[in-house]
Each structure stands twice: as C-alpha cells, then as structure tokens.
C-alpha cells in the first residue's frame, strides 16, 4: 500500500443531547488505500456515523474530533466549506442505504445525476446528459434513456440503488463510501449491485468503504474488515480470515448466524461482555 487515500486517526463523534452526551464513535483509527474496506458491527455501533463524519455530514448536535482525518493529504477537519464541497461528491462519494429515501422524490433520476455532475464539472447540459446516460449504462441499467426520465418512485429498489450509485460515481470519485447499499434489496438483486461496485474498484482503482452488518457478505466481498462495537473498532482483520477472528464479539457474530451448512440448535448467542465497550 502506497500513500493512503484516507487516513483516520482517533475519530470521535459525540452528540450532546439533553439527556447527556452520546459518544457514537469513539476513537476510530484506520487507513485506506485503493481497496475494499468493510466495516461491520451491529445496529448502532457507529458504522454510519463513521462514514458520515468522513464526509463532514454529521447531523447538527453532533461534534466531530480526530487526531487526523485526511483525504489524499487534505485535512478534512480544517478544510474550508468550499474545499469540502468540491471534495464531497467530487472525489469522495457515498452511496446511501435506502434508495427509497435518498433520492429526491420530485426530481427525475436523470436530473439528479446531471446535477451531481454539474456541481463538479464545467459541462453543458448536453454533455452532462450524455455523461449521465453513460453512467446509467455503466451500472447495467437496461434502458438508460427511459430510466433517465423516471422519477424515483417509478423504479424498483434495485434500479434505484443502481441509479444512486450512478449518481455518486458520475464524478469519478477516488473514494466511495457505501453505507449498507444492499440491505434494502433482494438477495439476487443485491448480488448484481455488488458486482458493479466490485468492478469499479478493480477497474477504476477506487477506494471503497463498505458498511454492512452482514458478516457473510463482507467477508466474501471485501479485502479488509473493521469490526465495530459501541463506537470502537474492536478488531481489524483480513476479510478472508474472518472465520479466525480473535475478538469474542466477532466470533460471536459469526457463530450466531444459522447456516445451511450445519444445523446448530440452539444457535449460540452473544454474551456481551461490558469490557468490550470500554
């Protein structure tokens, strides 16, 4: 791995609420090259907040601190709003969990892609349109011209998710954060989506952060995996070695899934050790 694309050290996200302070992310540290990095963990463990903090999109009461948060040498914490804006969508993109909610319901898919493109590239509408169509084609949309003029509610979940990916990739970013991009999809459809992402990483040399709670999926798709628990990274390991995880949490997560392979009964469950959260 040469110079890392993304360098995160001791990232913390806090929410100051009436009832006290919630530390959603507590000292996450990792580096990312042009590879597939998976982040797994149960619900509420801080996966999404980590991803959003990188993009500077932590929602209002939240506060982000880090020893280091740099993208391609640019310090994201001190960068001006302007710089951030050009980075966002331009060089770093994020595919969000649910296409049903993350596409603007009153704009056509084409418009939204064009908008993303024009926000970063000086292009005429015609050029932007061609680019958008090409992008839709790239994500294996069957009839790009038709999808272009459809509204989000007129497409299925799988198509929506692909449109979302097209929108986020139209600017040819160096880093893509995919936050549970397949959890709303059918198994069969989600495989197609993953295939597209995979191609992009291998063919464009993009960095990918793949957030998911599906260990099986992450281990089969990613190169490296961060396992999060209560806002911390409890374990970092090669994806293919997930079976050999050392941390009891990771082990537990792996084991408690029923599999077709063997019939364990009762299924082992997680016995949370308070010490994990410390």
């Amino acid at each position: 791995m040469t110079k890392p694309l993304l360098d995160v050290e001791d990232l913390r996200v806090r929410f100051h609420l009436r009832t006290g302070t919630v530390e959603a992310v507590r000292g996450v540290t990792f580096q990312l090259g042009r590879e597939r990095l998976g982040i797994v963990g149960e619900s509420g463990s801080g996966k999404s907040q980590t991803g959003r903090a990188i993009l500077g999109l932590t929602p209002p009461p939240g506060e982000v601190t880090a020893k280091r948060l740099a993208f391609d040498g640019i310090d994201l914490l001190t960068a001006s709003k302007r710089t951030l804006r050009t980075l966002r969508g331009g060089r770093i993109s994020m595919v969000m969990q649910d296409p049903k909610y993350s596409l603007n319901p009153v704009m056509t898919i084409g418009e939204q892609i064009i908008e993303a493109y024009q926000a970063h590239a000086k292009a005429s509408r015609g050029e932007a349109r061609d680019k958008a169509l090409a992008m839709l084609e790239a994500v294996k949309m069957r009839d790009p011209a038709r999808v272009f003029s459809l509204y989000p509610h007129e497409v299925s979940g799988g198509m929506g998710q692909r449109a979302m990916i097209a929108m986020m990739l139209v600017t040819d970013p160096d880093l893509l954060i995919a936050d549970e991009p397949t959890s709303a999809l059918d198994v069969t459809v989600s495989m197609e989506v993953l295939r597209i992402l995979d191609e992009l990483v291998t063919e464009r040399g993009m960095g990918l952060i793949f957030i998911s709670h599906d260990l099986k999926l992450v281990s089969s798709f990613c190169d490296r995996v961060l396992v999060m628990y209560a806002g911390r990274v409890v374990e970092e390991l090669e994806a293919k070695n997930l079976r050999e995880a050392k941390h009891p949490y990771t082990q537990g997560l792996m084991r408690c899934l029923p599999t077709l392979a063997d019939d364990v009964r009762p299924l082992p469950t997680l016995n949370r050790d308070p010490a994990w959260a410390l």
Partner: protein, 259 residues
C-alpha cells in the same frame, strides 16, 4: 392443521389489478413448522395475511383444523391463529405500554386473571416484569419482537404465522429470537408458518418449505434437501447460491463458506 387450497389473492381492479397470490396450495400438519421463501414481492406476506383475514381471499379455500374459515373471521379463529409481523418497530402501538398491549387481547376475549397472564407471557418470551410499563420506544428491536410474540401467544393459539420475524434484527438478536421460537414450539406444540427471504433461517426453523416467485408456488421442498443443495428448480438454486455470500465471477467462488 392448516390447509391452503388454490389460494388466490387479487388487489384492486382494472389497471390497478395486482395478482398477488396465484393458485397457491400447501398443507401444514399440527406441530409442524412450514416455511415460505421467495424474493421481495413474491406474495409470501400476502399468503399469511389472507389466512388471517387481513387480505381478501379471491379464490380457493383456507381450512383451519379442517374447517373452512369465514369472512369476517370469528373470535374463535383468532384464538387459534395469531400472527407476528416483520417490523417490530411498526407492530406495537407507539402509545401503549407493554402492559396495555398485552392486556388488550385478554380484555377483548374477556379473559380474567390478566395480571398473572401478562407476567407469565413476559416470562415465556424471556423478559422480566421490569419491561411491563415500558413504551415501545424504550425497547430494542429484539425486545419488541419478543413482546409481539408474547402478544401473539397470550391467547394460547395453536398456529403462529410469522412474517419475517427476524429480518429487521441484528444477527445476534436474530439468533435469540430463533432460539425462542424453537423453544416455544416445542413447549407449546405450536404450528408455525414462517416467511423469510433468508434460506438459512427457514432451514433452521422449518421442516418443509415452499418457494414462491411472482405469486406462484415454484416448488415445495424440505430443509434437508436445501442443506444438501438439492433443488430441482433453477430459481431455488439461485436463491441458495445467493445466500452464500458474494461470488466474484473473475475469481473462483469462495468455497470455504459454502462448506
């Protein structure tokens, strides 16, 4: 116990007509757990909803305990058949405490001894009495799903219809719920129909299952057959494939996980 014969469900008319379930038949023995799998929109939930009267039966028959169900369903039917919904966040009344939620069926059916039955029901699903006065938003998803199961069980039904009871839950919580369901079935001699898109979950809980696609039954098979990877139907085969994780076409498939 349950006999579904040529079930048909149609929503809407004219241009808006949706044939959600087309001619589906299956039979469930008492004490058996039966699975329904298939992709999203294949009509799995609709079958369950048609059985308990939440969706119209447009054709075919539904027999419970040998008797054809009436529309609207009788109170006795509801004492026999109960359902647990997919989304634990949506299936509890947001303004009712657990206590209220659990006492409602008892009140409807004029059961006495509510206090004791509620505490017992909570115990059965592995929750302590401390949960009794909580509101749904004070519960985790897994806890909510337990409450939903407790509510379904408090009338001592014989049949439990489970609509993806774990798909909204974390893996670890899913394991807890699956264990619980397994336990309860054994203890109470319940009959299950389980809907899920996760083959592993269905295989874990059920003996037999029906694969559905586009509202039609594709094939009926057994868990054992699934485990051995023996599926006569291409579609079933592709489901089995997909459930084993991502496969890179360029690289050889990850055999290690398929076992």
């Amino acid at each position: 116990m349950l006999d579904i014969q040529n079930l048909q469900v149609v929503f809407g008319t004219g241009r808006l007509r949706v044939d959600a379930v087309k001619n589906v038949s299956f039979h469930v023995e008492p004490g058996e757990a039966y699975g329904l799998v298939g992709e999203s929109g294949s009509g799995k939930s609709t079958v369950l909803r048609a059985i308990c009267g939440l969706a119209p039966i447009s054709g075919g028959r539904v027999l419970v305990d040998g008797k054809e169900v009436t529309t609207p369903r009788t109170k006795a039917f509801y004492r026999t058949v109960q359902m647990v919904f997919q989304d634990p966040y949506a299936s509890l009344h947001p303004r009712h405490t657990v206590d209220r939620t659990l006492s409602e069926p008892l009140a409807i059916h004029g059961e006495k001894d509510a206090e004791a039955r509620i505490l017992q029901a909570l115990r059965e699903v592995g929750l302590g009495p401390s949960f009794r006065f909580r509101y749904p938003h004070q519960l985790s998803g897994g806890q909510r799903q337990r409450i939903a199961i407790a509510r379904a069980l408090i009338l001592r039904p014989k049949v439990l219809l489970l609509d993806e009871p774990t798909s909204a839950l974390d893996a670890s919580v899913q394991a807890e719920i699956l264990n619980l369901l397994d336990d309860l079935r054994r203890k109470m001699g319940l009959t299950y129909i389980l809907v899920s898109h996760d083959l592993a979950v269905v295989a874990h809980l059920c003996e037999r299952l029906l694969v559905m696609r586009h509202g039609e039954a594709v094939e009926e098979t057994t868990s054992a057959a699934l485990r051995s990877g023996a599926a006569s139907n291409d579609y079933t085969q592709s489901l089995i494939q997909a459930s084993q994780g991502f496969t890179r076409t360029t690289k050889p498939p990850l055999q290690s996980l398929a076992g």
